[in-house]
Symmetry: C2
Subunit: 149 residues, 2 copies
């Protein structure tokens, strides 16, 4: 009853955090160095590139970023002319954000690099392993609740 067997090394939240930090450190340094983008800014670009214009709230939901960070990231992107805001006809409290031509251009530059970095990380994973890994991550995420940012 008294001897606990928790080895940090085998403790899932620890392993997950270490892996995530390792990946994130490496990749975010690259976004930043090469394009001057922070992670939330990159995520907003990616979401906007996938779809059409949307509100900050919708962006935050899609990119899993809290509204404060969305606000700051959007301000930075607008400042750089990568996205634009227009009034939201349906709700005067918010607005609609969309990529500019420059924004699309930058995204088109980054996306292949991002995919290449992912490919490098997953280099020795079979397709089956990738799918498994993805599925396991989603299950963990679901089990951890709808929280996070």
């Amino acid at each position: 009853m008294s001897m606990m067997t928790l080895r940090l090394d085998a403790f899932l939240p620890y392993r997950l955090s270490v892996a995530s930090n390792a990946v994130s450190t490496r990749i975010s340094a690259s976004y930043r160095r090469r394009f001057g983008l922070k992670v939330p800014e990159w995520r907003l670009l990616a979401i906007l590139a996938e779809g059409s214009e949307m509100t900050p709230q919708a962006l935050g939901n899609a990119a899993r970023i809290d509204k404060i960070s969305v606000s700051r990231a959007a301000a930075a992107l607008i400042e750089r002319g990568l996205i634009v805001a227009r009034a939201n006809p349906g709700d005067g409290r918010s607005h609609l954000l969309a990529l500019t031509t420059d924004g699309r251009g930058l995204y088109a530059e980054i996306a292949p690099i991002a995919l290449a970095m992912e490919a490098e990380l997953l280099g020795n994973f079979s397709q089956e392993e990738r799918d498994q890994f993805n599925a396991l991550l989603r299950r963990i995420e679901a089990a951890a609740g709808t929280d996070s940012a």
Copy 2:
């Protein structure tokens, strides 16, 4: 050549980050609320509980925490009487840290709770899935380099 297919939703670094944040948010809130510990402090306790006294440097390596955070976490734990420092006979620049009786007591309280939270997260994973997941995380971590914190 022009249409990029990067869906953020399926992008590994994103998935990993989201899963890790979800888990970490939930678990670290619990450490903090119930025991007043931050994640690095908890990690130091766990490492010290597994082994014997060690230098800040060894602790940092074992817990994957940079030296600044080790320094701050150790200071907080010493302040609370959970660990003690004694001179390092082999090197006057560093010192040796070890759990106090209180530190062991607190660890003994937390460890089962931490394991229970882990079990909850992994509730619907088979043993095989857990092992797979762990192995995949380690491979990713290795591929991402020896960086991180």
